[in-house]
Symmetry: C2
Subunit: 142 residues, 2 copies
């Protein structure tokens, strides 16, 4: 499978909403967002649905509908986006249960889970250090 691009899509969407808001555009439709991401509006709606459930964006239904940020871009970190999109952790355990007759097979899964948990905590800490405002600032610089 191709690399997981959900965090990328969601971050792109949020950055675009932030820029539109700054320019005075209150709400954007999923079609307008999809035009920037260059993908299907349903993909964008799926991503925005995740972000809505996490409380990062709000949606207005009916005529004149659309999306807007639920809080300031400085208040949204990539860690929140990462958790909102529910990306799976980078490492998985064995597909098939290891041989429990073997001392390594018996005890390695909790050992690895602990190590992988520490790695994911490190990832989360690093993701929390960047906000949507940071991403947008860096984006407009180029």
């Amino acid at each position: 499978m191709a690399a997981n691009s959900r965090l990328t899509i969601a971050t792109h969407v949020l950055a675009w909403l932030a820029l539109a808001q700054r320019r005075g555009q209150e709400v954007l439709t999923s079609d307008q967002v999809a035009a920037s991401v260059n993908t299907n509006p349903v993909i964008v709606r799926r991503s925005l649905g995740d972000l809505r459930r996490a409380g990062l964006v709000t949606v207005r239904h009916g005529a004149g509908a659309g999306w807007s940020l639920a809080r300031a871009p400085e208040e949204i970190t990539l860690r929140q986006v990462y958790e909102a999109v529910g990306a799976q952790p980078p490492f998985g355990l064995h597909h098939t249960e290891p041989n429990l007759e073997c001392p390594v097979g018996r005890g390695i899964r909790p050992a690895l889970s602990a190590a992988y948990g520490r790695v994911e905590q490190a990832m989360r800490r690093e993701l929390a250090a960047t906000s949507i405002a940071d991403v947008l600032r860096q984006t407009l610089r180029s």
Copy 2:
């Protein structure tokens, strides 16, 4: 795709080699290793091939062939294993090029690459803090 288990397989293999070595068993065949991981010997050989290219294990061909660690278990970190198995980074960029007419679409890829690079560095730092000896010790504790 199922979660990526290459790091898990490779670490299991190395821990098993380390334990066998400590017990006086100099070399193990891929069949013996596969019996502990509970998978096909070819999977194990593929993994061991990665580790050999990275200089972490050595192989003996011909009759009486088999594998052994190329250095002490304390000297092998999960970071080295991670780099040996060539796992892809946790986040990918857009599948299709974003709309370059849009200021966000134009500049977001380098901005995200930089942020993702920092995250992967954090992962590597954390992986470097655990060695095969640590994993084996934790494994045998349960």
